[in-house]
Symmetry: D2
Subunit: 440 residues, 4 copies
């Protein structure tokens, strides 16, 4: 294992709940079996290349604060190489099995498409070697179709076809790189696919273009032998005023409408749920109900701020409810838990990056254990089962099976006593969740 | 015309922009032709029975403030009769061609279903007579499936089947009344169809029940000869934490998934768009793009408050953008503009009710005229047409027609210059909208 | 102890973290000493009369769902008597040392002021007896100046003086009752003190009236020998569009401006902080910094809904951060922790009321223990101390002491190296909070 | 007048409401007298250097899209010189009498403080010459204390004193430049004065530092002979999670607490009001009531997005209500209307910059005329006067004058009839505002 970029950090070990060591896991034990699978298998934790090795704390009102040696000196490919070496040292020391990238995270975009492609091909070769050496794998790749000014009006939904074509070229290369690296999935995040003003937008035409574009990408990748999932990552807004992939329900409807439901699933992010006015567990449930719960981007927003803060996850009470949905759905379909989270702008120490990931992994681990306990709890099971039991038999079942007409309901109602006031037991269920979380 | 309840108000006349008379229209002229149709035809304005003749200003922290004689004295049907007389006097003096109701707006719910049905049947007969006398028509009817405590966990989505049956019985009677009164549409607003806590909810099962229920209602109404539209009214929350009919995109996806798209369209409300994080024109456009723009509930929320304030519409700048979408869609499919708006709690004068409607109708009228002018403006048309022109021919057209593969985009991109920075002209478009609104 | 209303519930006991009994405390031990005081002393838990014995689950779209025997039958004072008997049985079985009320929680408002006062005086006598029998005490009393329609435009800030006078009369009686019952504090919540529309409002004049009114109430109570604190409870909106007691900072400024700072402190509510766009701990800190942290109303809002949901508290991660502020401030000045929280509308079982309070008290207890541990943690202390150490000596201290001029800063800056990038260690601090909470 | 940067644009002329020319004023006539003063005097319109000549459309997810020749080529001072030439050409052609800047808008910050100061001094000399040539004046200057990474933890409130010193040095130079250019005011916007996490923050100590710092800056400027106003610009968040200058009420309280109320007033921004949960007119009214309504930053947010979009103002219905407050307050105290607004990222044409300002100025002009008409309207005046008339005489006046005790209110209430239900006439007032706006 390289020791160049984080020389003061040893591989992170599990030390248990009593540890005071910030650079140790208090709860996450990769091999601990919960609900029939190891924690490592449940989560498939991944580090995101962009937040952790990219921007460095810049925000709309100020430049980077986190000075990283790999951002400076040498030429573009030298910086890219050092960045990658640092990243794999970090992945290995942290002990995560996966990482994720955009094309222009691995390399800086060149002056021409050809130059960008050449850089990407070279970096792909480095990454392949690193993966083999370290055992770290690629959870998913994607293309950055939002940073370059050419995408200011969208990529696949750009009103100018030449930009759509350029986006297609970029996706082709990103898919090639993903396949070359054995990437298990490929993601689309449509940060500019939407509108800034409805006044100048033909929303229907743009959405048809998007469907067309996604289909073309899918066909290309399948033709190259790619067997993994495609994920759409919903987000309602920011940078664009309105983004077409607004939330789970919107994306599920879109995928079904355009015949993409067999190949595409959802990659859901906590902070994006918040921006869309949903709880994270709601978004998960909508995707699970549609059979499209693919992967998650772990982070959190700030409840008082209305923008995409991408903080590291820490609130295990909320995470427990999310893990309940994931466990009930049988786990994530193909994906994992990617830390699409960034250090606060003023968290400038190198060890902050380790601590943030460790705390996030611990928070998920504790939530998983609690979620499993809740789902196994007799009280929880009984409350849920009884609640819907009138549909398990007799007229309720006939209704569910489509064997009743409205007149039948009218007849049943004439005789039926006045019901409907059975307690929903919400406070009791919250008590169960809380207790299972707080139990050692 | 009766003169019992509003003796000091004469029929409202059009007096033009210079009027200082609060009880006159400054802009709304029923017969004025705009974009090929009269204002009356464009809007089909309707008064809502519940807000204007129901609650009387109560809010969660205090009781009614607007004392109406029809709320007091006599027995339930006497109150219902006087309420209806007052309502039709109001409709007639205001000069609106339509009204809308829930079953238990017309009458107070009785102790039993049978009693409620008997009351409703009697009131339906009165209403029929009033309609014939006045020429006022029923835009749509609906059933109140949210006020009675039995619906605390939902109506069609209640986990207790006996409540679902009761809801069905109520819908049957409301459909019967709507048909009897020549109602042009029938509406579903699922105020309790959703969840208070996901912890106790089987969301998928509940949504399947909802689809089943809607299909049964549709089948019943069609069997009775009803030819009108069914409308779903999206709302994201309140009273329920999360409502299944969240927004246009969610409902469109639901209707398509469950085979309801041929009979159901959307009834969109301004304030509900606000609560869902959308502009009203966005919600209209989503519905229009799906061919489901049926009707609107006119009101507005308060931008600083997060709940359903249902204020009367007044902001013509925003309404102009809404009317642009409606005009481009060819108008509302079957529905009209229903004032689902209530006086502020402290607007206790009887004339406030007239003024609020007058101001709202004027605001819509001015917006219609402005929207038509914008759509006819050469600058507006040129900006829009040019923006997407690269898809009208050559490779752009081939892309749109599905004749290109991803490799083709890659090839095109290799040669293409770096484009994509053509101005979206948002400020110019806003200037056009503003000028057309402010132009006399 | 009476056993009439909750015959199936025994006094709630502490059973420890392993309990599966919903009607037992898992963490709250009244006598357990933390940071030098018992849990009972830290919290002074109070039950609120209105939510727990009042409304019964009504919301703006539907009537009460929680049927309580004390709401029905008999005359007004019979209902009031039974309600009080039930309340004290509940207080006693739950084991809380305090309760809180509005005047018209104890009794139903009468047709005249005289009748209301007579009822209140009678109920006060009953309460006194109950208090003596049970040992339960009155944390604070208040007057309901928002439910009666006469207050639709405000109480102390009503534009009609006769309403101001009536409000004054009501406050006088509520103060009398509070004193009679040994109430430790008196609260003002100005739910209608604000505006619905700025267009009809003279904000400055109304605020001056409010200050005048508060001063008169204070003078009266002091003249009657009342030694307790007066509390203002900030809330930004709902029912009124804008309420003058918007948030901590606004109220502190108001109290200072009008010479009320010596007698008045703040009663802060979690859900009100949420509505104002603040975290609860922020509101606490602002009050603490002004020496005005008096009492808290414990509940929580729903992060996705914009209205006052008043759910029971459960999220110990957030409560830990609140308890840190309270502990650092030396505790609450005079007040306690009042459960201004209500059951969800569909929580209709009688045991739900116990469970909700138990879970809330446990959540606070766990948070207190964690907060004390964090504050005692060497890592926490060191990070905080070092962060501001440059102001503890030399020029930094001189600056703080007001001994430098701008020119001095300019001179110092000429020589100073470029600093300012020391990590804020936010993720580490969050890790500490989380670990201390999760530690058994 | 120079014609180098906008060769295709002639000086913008007033052409009246019928114009179709996007590069002409439809309503703004500098010399038209409204309410006793010319439009030019009412507004004192200013262009902001940063948005209009600075960033070029960058956002957190992508770089600049608006390519300006002055951003490229040459050395830093050459770019600064060309930028300034372009700016003054723009000011002159647009016909605005004022502009505003931050120190590092005029020049790029240098490697050292000395270099930055030298650049600033040189640019100040250029600006002085431009001002003399064009007659354009400086509405206010300020220092950018948020972009440089050294300010990541605040400037005046930084926990590291060396950063505070550096901020002081920068403010000194910015004050010097402002004085040299005859700037009429000096502004503080505390974009980083606040916290990212309360966990690592001593809020009270930081706020005391801020007060100290402001006092030092004031003392320095006064000693140099500066007679203008100091303005604080409230903003609740972004870039920082919580900013100390949260809203008008918070800042007024702060200024009063720390003895700064005589020299400091408020510079209020529309979009900042939105972020703080207030209407703009509310923020204006709070400042006006405290005698601190100094200046405004004209722009708007997006009602559906939670971040600082800084769009150009266009909604005259809202602006009319703002202008009503400003007119009633007797105008802005020392300041003017600064367009702190930026083109949308995809508005890349040079003429977009003119159009946006023209449309904004027209929107304000129309609002001013409407506001004046509303305030002069007999109906408006009568509603307001009558509403508070009970405090103009008798006991109401005695109450207002502090001559009543609580017992007197009690006595008055015993006799008083049940009042308080007089209509607030909100819908009528909105109708008046709307009509006066729509009237030609």
């Amino acid at each position: 294992m390289s020791d160049t970029y984080f020389p003061n950090v040893s591989p992170i070990a599990f030390e248990g709940a009593d540890t005071d060591n910030p650079l140790a896991f208090a709860f996450y034990e990769a091999d601990r079996v919960v609900a029939g699978r190891s924690m490592a298998e449940h989560f498939k934790f991944a580090v995101s290349y962009w937040h952790s090795f990219g921007q460095g704390g810049a925000d709309p009102f100020g430049g980077p604060t986190q000075l990283r040696s790999w951002h400076e000196g040498g030429d573009a490919q030298s910086r890219a190489r050092r960045k990658m070496d640092a990243a794999f040292e970090f992945f290995t020391k942290l002990g995560v099995p996966y990482y994720c990238f955009h094309d222009y995270d691995l390399v800086e975009e060149g002056a021409t498409l050809a130059e960008s492609n050449a850089r990407l091909a070279e970096a792909t070769a480095w990454a392949k070697e690193h993966q083999e050496d370290s055992g770290v794998k690629l959870l998913w790749g994607t293309a950055n179709l939002f940073s370059n000014p050419r995408y200011m009006n969208g990529a696949a939904t750009n009103p100018d076809f030449s930009v759509v074509a350029r986006a297609g070229a970029q996706v082709k290369s990103a898919i090639d790189a993903t396949i070359e690296l054995g990437g298990e999935n490929y993601v689309f995040w449509g940060g500019r696919e939407g509108y800034i003003s409805l006044l100048n937008t033909d929303m229907k035409r743009e959405q048809e273009h998007m469907a067309r574009f996604l289909g073309m990408a899918r066909d290309y990748a399948r033709a190259q032998g790619f067997k993994g999932c495609f994920f759409i990552e919903p987000k309602p807004m920011e940078p664009t005023k309105h983004q077409y992939d607004y939330d789970s329900a919107t994306v599920v409807g879109f995928l079904e409408r355009y015949g993409l439901a067999n190949d595409f699933k959802l990659n859901l992010e906590v902070n994006h749920a918040t921006l869309a006015g949903h709880s994270f567990e709601h978004e998960l449930q909508v995707a699970a109900d549609a059979g499209m719960l693919g992967s998650i981007d772990a982070n959190r927003g700030d409840e008082q701020n209305g923008w995409d803060t991408d903080q590291f996850p820490i609130n295990s009470f909320e995470l427990t409810q999310a893990m309940m949905v994931i466990l009930k759905a049988g786990g994530l379909a193909g994906g994992g838990v990617n830390f699409d989270a960034k250090l606060r702008r003023n968290s400038t120490s190198m060890d902050d990056l380790f601590i943030a990931h460790i705390a996030g992994m611990d928070a998920f681990a504790k939530a998983l254990v609690a979620a499993d306990r809740v789902l196994s709890s007799p009280d929880y099971q009984q409350i849920l089962q009884q609640r819907y039991s009138s549909f398990d038999q007799n007229e309720g079942k006939a209704f569910e099976d489509g064997q009743l007409q409205l007149e039948c309901l009218d007849e049943l109602a004439q005789e039926s006593p006045d019901l409907g006031r059975q307690s929903g037991k919400q406070e009791r269920l919250e008590q169960i969740v809380w207790r299972e979380l707080m139990r050692p």
